[in-house]
C-alpha cells in the first residue's frame, strides 16, 4: 500500500476514534446543528490563519471557540431563539469565511476544506491530527463523569456540585478541536455527519453510555475504511464516501430486527 494511503487511513481512523464519543454527546445533547455551526466557522479560522501566518489547526480551534462564546453570550440575551441564532451564525460565518479566503493573496484549495482531502494528508498534518486526538481522548477520559452528569441533567449536576458552565465550555472546546482535526478528513460541511451518524447507529445496539461511545468509535473507523476503499475503487471523493458509508451502516443496523432487551418503547 502506498504511503499516502497509510497516512490517509491513519488520519481517518484517528479522527473516527474521537468523533465517536464526542458524537455521542452531540446526539445526547441535541447539539448537531450547534456542531454544524461551529464547523462552518472553521473556514473563517482558515482564512485568519493564512492571513496571520499561524498554525491553521490552532486558528481553527480559536475561531470555533470564539464562535462558541459568541453563541453562548447571544443565547443568554434571549433576543431570538437558539435555532434561529444558529441558522444566522452558521451561514454568516461560512459566507464570511468564503469571502475572507477569496480576498487572500494565496491560492487556497477551497473544495478540500469544504469536503475534505484525505488522500493528500502529509506527515506533518498526521502528527497534528494525532496531537488533537491525544488531547481529546485524555480530556474525555478525565472528565467523562462530569460530562455525562451535565448531559443527563444540568440542574441535578449543578446541585451535586459539578461546575456545569466549565464542563459545558470544555465540551465546546473538545468539539472545536475535533472540527480542527477532522476538517482535513471530511471537510467543514461534513464533519457533523462523522460525529452524529456513527453515534446514532451505535445507539440502537447499546445500553450504556460508555458502550455507545465506544461502539460509535468502532463504527466510525469501519466507515472510514469502507469509504476510503470505495473512494479508491470508484474514484469518488473520499470525505463524502466516508459519510455515505456511515449512512449505509446506519441504514443496515436500523433495518435489522431489534432485540427486545434493548427496546425502550
Amino acid at each position: 500500500m502506498a504511503d499516502f494511503l497509510w497516512r490517509a487511513l491513519l488520519a481517518g481512523l484517528g479522527v473516527a476514534l474521537v468523533a465517536g464519543p464526542l458524537g455521542s454527546f452531540v446526539v445526547w445533547r441535541r447539539m448537531s446543528y450547534f456542531g454544524d455551526t461551529l464547523a462552518h466557522s472553521a473556514l473563517l479560522g482558515i482564512a485568519l490563519g493564512i492571513a496571520l501566518d499561524t498554525n491553521l489547526n490552532l486558528a481553527v480551534v480559536g475561531s470555533c471557540v470564539a464562535l462558541a462564546f459568541l453563541l453562548v453570550t447571544l443565547q443568554q440575551r434571549k433576543i431570538i431563539s437558539t435555532d434561529t441564532l444558529l441558522g444566522i451564525l452558521a451561514h454568516s460565518s461560512l459566507s464570511l469565511g468564503l469571502i475572507a479566503i477569496s480576498l487572500l493573496e494565496v491560492r487556497v484549495d477551497l473544495f478540500g476544506y469544504l469536503f475534505g482531502d484525505l488522500l493528500t494528508v502529509t506527515g506533518e498534518e498526521l502528527l497534528w491530527i494525532y496531537i488533537g486526538v491525544a488531547v481529546i481522548l485524555s480530556l474525555l477520559l478525565s472528565f467523562w463523569r462530569p460530562l455525562l452528569a451535565i448531559t443527563v441533567d444540568e440542574g441535578l449536576a449543578q446541585a451535586e456540585g459539578y461546575p456545569v458552565l466549565l464542563i459545558r465550555l470544555l465540551l465546546m472546546l473538545l468539539i472545536a478541536i475535533v472540527i480542527a482535526v477532522a476538517m482535513k478528513i471530511v471537510g467543514v460541511l461534513l464533519i457533523t455527519a462523522l460525529m452524529v451518524i456513527p453515534a446514532a447507529t451505535a445507539r440502537r445496539l447499546t445500553n450504556s453510555p460508555e458502550s455507545m461511545a465506544a461502539l460509535s468509535s468502532l463504527l466510525g473507523c469501519i466507515a472510514v475504511m469502507i469509504g476510503l476503499a470505495g473512494s479508491l475503487q470508484w474514484d469518488t471523493p473520499t470525505g463524502p464516501s466516508i459519510v455515505v458509508s456511515a449512512t449505509c451502516l446506519f441504514l443496515l443496523i436500523y433495518a435489522l430486527p431489534r432485540k427486545d432487551s434493548l427496546s425502550l418503547k
Partner: protein
Amino acid sequence: MKLLKFPACASAANMTDTLLSLEKLSVRVGRRNIIDQINLDLQAGEIVTLIGPNGAGKTTLVRAILGLIKPSSGKIKKRPGLRIGYMPQRLHLEQTIPLTVKRFLKMTKRASNSDIDSALQKVGAQHTADRPIQGISGGELQRILLARALLRKPHLLVLDEPAQGVDVAGQAELYRLISSLRDELGCAVLMVSHDLHLVMSSTDRVICMNHHICCSGHPEQVSNDPAYLELFGQQVSDELALYAHHHDHRHDSEGNVIHNHKGCNHG
C-alpha cells in the same frame, strides 16, 4: 415541641442544630423580586413544606438554596460540611442516552452497588434497577430521583414538588415514604408543594409564600391563617385573580409591561 419553633426564635444556643439559615434573601429577575426578603431557618431533622400559588417563587427559593441561582441580596448561611440531596421537579431525559436506572444512580459521586441497592430498596423501586430509565413510569422516576438524592447521604433533602406526575394514591404514599425516610435517616426535609392538605400529616412546619413569606407555622395553624386563606381559601377564587393582578403587571397596547404595584399588600 422544638420542631415547631418559629425561625425568629432560633437563638445562638441551638445554632448547632441549624442546618441552614436565610437572611433577607431576595432574587430579582429584571425589575421583579421573584423572592423578596425571605428569612428562614432550617433545623436538623425537621420537615418544612413551602407552599404557595404558581409563580410564587418556591422553586426559585429552592434553587437559590441549592446555589443554582445567585441571590440578588441577602445571605444564605449553611452549616459547614452540609450535604444536600436534591430531587428536581422533573427530569427531561433524552431517549438517545442509553441509561439504566442503576447507571443513572451511579452518577452520584462514586456510589457502590450495595449503596445503590439499599437506596432503591428504601424507596421501594428495586425492580427497576436494570430497566432503561426512559421506560419507567412517572411515579417510579420520582422514587428513583429520591433514591439518587439519598445516595449523597444528605443532612438535608430538598424536594421540589416530589409528587409531580404521580396519581393521588401514589402521592399520599410518596409523602408517607418521605416522612418515614426522615425518621429513619434523621435528615431534614425541605419540600415544595402546592397542596397543603396532602402534605399536612407529613410536615412539621409550613411556610406559605407568595414572593415573600405570608405566614408560617404548624400545618393546622397555617391552614387557618388569614394570609393562607387569602391565597388558598374557598372564597378566594375571585380574590385570587385580583390578588395576582395586584402583584403582577399588565400589558399596554404595545405589549410593554406595566407594573401596578411595587410592594405587596394583603389588604
